[in-house]
């Protein structure tokens, strides 16, 4: 009798394993779509150090959702779907991101998951791949062969340093010595590799390149060490706006008179710390969307955004919405909201419409898979308290110049952030 019980128990356990873990298929997105609603997962930091790269993006995504719904929703397979955003604050913590990913996919059955970048994305990728979830983030280095359904379509995060350093070297020939400082995380380390490569290619000397911990509250010792290296240019790498502002403030207070560079400057906060004339000429990679060089769509978006959320405009304000535009293009091309159909439609398109111009899937030579949408991109300078476009080029133009590929791969490997197997 006992043996029968044991065998029965084993069978039950085996069945549970087969049904719970052994079967891998895409979650039933269509099930929720029966109600005429398609859900989108917004999994980004809405609080904490990195909130400036999540919260302003959520506002933009909300605007996008309202506009699409007001226009009748998304049409696919002969149906019309209203869009619903489901948010989860991952606080820039990898474990919370994975928890959020499971909740959004398994409970909410979202059709696509939008994320920020870095370690939080990496933490979710196995789960996304196993469950065939379409996900999109803001960083090309999140794309990799082991995560085939992950796309980076809106922003070339950190890669733009490959464009900004040559721009500075060409525009300001007196810049010879560069200091690079960033927070000690995936974003900081990736950025350092791109910056070192760009500096080497441009013949600039890196005189300081160090990380700081997340617990740092006093940046005076760091800036003392930086200024002692006598740089002409200080790059804050892909620093979180919270740190960039404190570092820039220290640089100003300690009398730095050279050029500062960063992925972005959250100007409404930065200009509360330093005078506008000191920040004049700061080089970044994100334009304010009322720039005369940008199309009317951008101006309208910017006007509505800044009216609804004053002081919240930043690099990511439009980017999650831009990813959603590309996802919508995929839905319409596939005539389906099924994530894998949308993915296939996107990947098979010759070019993808991006707000900065037509994009082409690229990146295999750097990240091992062509899941990064290479588009034109801008260099900006701060002028009269605004990010103004001063130069535009293909984002991977630098990479395809002779010798630069080898330099970049060398620095990515040296920094331990080259993941191609």
């Amino acid at each position: 009798m006992k043996r029968v019980l044991y065998v029965g128990l084993l069978l039950l356990v085996g069945a549970a394993v087969v049904f719970a873990g052994g079967k891998k298929e895409a979650p039933a997105v269509e099930g929720t779509a029966a109600s005429g609603v398609v859900k989108i997962g917004f999994l980004a930091p809405l609080t904490g150090d990195a909130a400036a790269w999540g919260l302003p993006g959520l506002y933009g995504a909300q605007m996008w959702m309202e506009d699409v719904n007001a226009a009748g929703g998304i049409k696919a397979g002969g149906k019309s779907y209203k869009v619903e955003l489901v948010t989860y604050d991952e606080e820039n913590v990898a474990s919370k991101a994975l928890l959020g990913a499971k909740k959004l996919v398994l409970e909410d059955k979202v059709a696509v998951v939008l994320m920020m970048a870095g370690a939080t994305v990496t933490a979710c990728q196995s789960f996304f791949t196993e469950n065939k979830v379409l996900s999109m983030s803001l960083a090309p280095y999140d794309t990799r062969a082991e995560a085939p359904y992950h796309l980076c379509a809106a922003e070339p995060s950190l890669v733009y340093h490959l464009a900004s350093i040559p721009y500075i070297a060409k525009t300001y020939p007196n810049v010879k010595r560069v200091a690079i400082v960033a927070q000690d995380d995936e974003i900081g380390r990736q950025g350092l590799a791109y910056l070192r490569a760009a500096c080497e290619s441009a013949g600039l000397q890196v005189v300081y390149d160090k990380f700081y911990g997340f617990e740092t509250t006093d940046f005076a010792p760091i800036m003392t060490a930086i200024l002692n290296a006598k740089p002409d240019l200080i790059s804050f790498d892909g620093g979180y706006s919270y740190y960039v502002e404190l570092l820039a403030e220290q640089a100003y207070l300690m009398g730095f008179e050279g050029i500062i560079e960063s992925s972005e400057f959250f100007l409404s906060s930065l200009l509360a710390k330093v005078p506008a004339d000191w920040a004049e000429g700061a080089v970044a990679s994100f334009a304010d969307w009322d720039d005369p060089k940008l199309p009317k769509y951008c101006h309208d978006f910017y006007a509505e955004y800044t009216q609804r959320w004053p002081g919240q405009w930043g690099a990511v304000s439009w980017e999650y919405a831009a990813n959603l535009d590309i996802w919508k293009f995929g839905v319409e091309s596939a005539d389906s909201i099924d994530p894998m159909e949308v993915f296939k439609a996107l990947k098979s398109a010759e070019t993808i419409p991006h707000v900065y111009g037509e994009g082409v899937w690229s990146g295999k030579e750097i990240w091992g898979i062509d899941n990064f949408l290479a588009t034109p991109w801008h260099n900006t300078e701060v002028r009269n308290g605004k990010h103004v476009i001063v130069n535009t080029q293909p984002i991977l133009g630098w990479f395809y110049q002779p010798g630069n590929k080898e330099i970049l791969l060398k620095h990515l490997k040296a920094a331990g952030v080259y993941y191609v197997k």
Binding site: L46, T47, G48, G213, T217, A220, P221, T224, L253, S269
Partner: protein, 286 residues
């Protein structure tokens, strides 16, 4: 030469900030025998008060700082009366209550003012002091005289007033203090109020320099505990000495090597000092 001088001034400013935080913590530990982890949240509430009054309400900075001191002092006294008084003599109980208080204050502040973007507090003293080849922001520099003033007031209170002497007596020998007719409960309330106000002073003065958000107390309270433990828990002179030591150590290592190693070296020094002198720099062996 200028980097040495700059580092010394930076160290002095960091030490002053450490003193503000750690002296309040050690005062509470000495009198109440409680490791108050909510001290970092008192620091955070002090910073929020200044953000709310000075940055949003346009009330003069030093008035805002004063209000922050009073508000957080009141929170400390209420916490002592309602929560900590019930667990005197129970270190673990006090610890658990302080952890609860951490969450309550964080969630409360987050619910009221949001936990999204950090709260910007404009500088009160723009510009910097440039002399002998060094440059220090006035807003940072002001922490030094303010700390000196607050420590002087605390010294006067503890050394020259009856209540202050009562606090010292309770810290030295609680039972003997009771036998001498000292109202221990009152002393504990005063210690908690003063300790909390010191934390608030730190948060309020630093608000224009650091960014203000509900979790800003975390790193501060850990540093505070390292300083208090090394100084000799409950020993104010030792805590001041320890704050000076760690302020200089961290700043010098962060300048010469980097800030992450600075933190590592700090904790390593704590372990070495405790291994050699478990009672702390100025503590007395029982």
């Amino acid at each position: 030469m200028s980097i040495i001088l700059q580092t010394l001034v930076n160290s002095l400013i960091t030490s002053s900030f450490y003193m503000l935080i750690a002296v309040g913590l050690t005062l509470v530990f000495g009198v109440m025998n409680i490791a108050n982890f909510a001290h970092g949240e008192f620091y955070m509430v002090g910073a929020y008060t200044v953000w709310l009054l000075y940055s949003v309400g346009k009330i003069p900075f030093f008035v805002s700082v004063l209000v922050a001191l009073v508000v957080v002092c009141a929170i400390g006294v209420v916490a002592e009366r309602v929560l900590f008084r019930r667990v005197y003599g129970n270190v673990l109980g006090g610890f658990i209550i302080s952890i609860g208080l951490v969450f309550i204050l964080q969630v409360l502040v987050g619910q009221i003012w949001g936990v999204g973007m950090m709260k910007p507090v404009p500088k009160v003293f723009p510009g910097s002091l440039s002399v002998l080849g060094i440059s220090v922001g006035w807003q940072r520099f002001i922490v030094v005289p303010c700390t000196g003033f607050l420590l002087a007031v605390l010294w006067f209170f503890l050394a020259k007033t009856k209540t202050g002497r009562g606090l010292r007596a309770v810290a030295q020998d609680r039972e003997a203090a009771i036998l001498h007719g000292i109202d221990v409960n009152r002393c504990c309330a005063v210690a908690m109020g003063l300790g909390s106000a010191m934390a608030a002073a730190g948060g309020a003065l630093m608000a224009p320099i650091v960014s203000v958000y509900p979790y800003m107390g975390h790193s501060v309270v850990w540093t505070g505990f390292v300083i208090v433990i090394v100084g000799g828990a409950g020993n104010i002179k030792g805590t001041i000495l320890s704050a000076l030591f760690f302020g200089f150590l961290h700043t010098i290592v962060a300048t010469v090597l980097d800030s992450t190693i600075g933190n590592l070296v700090g904790v390593l020094c704590m372990l070495i000092i405790l291994a050699i002198k478990p009672e702390g720099l100025a503590g007395e062996r029982e």
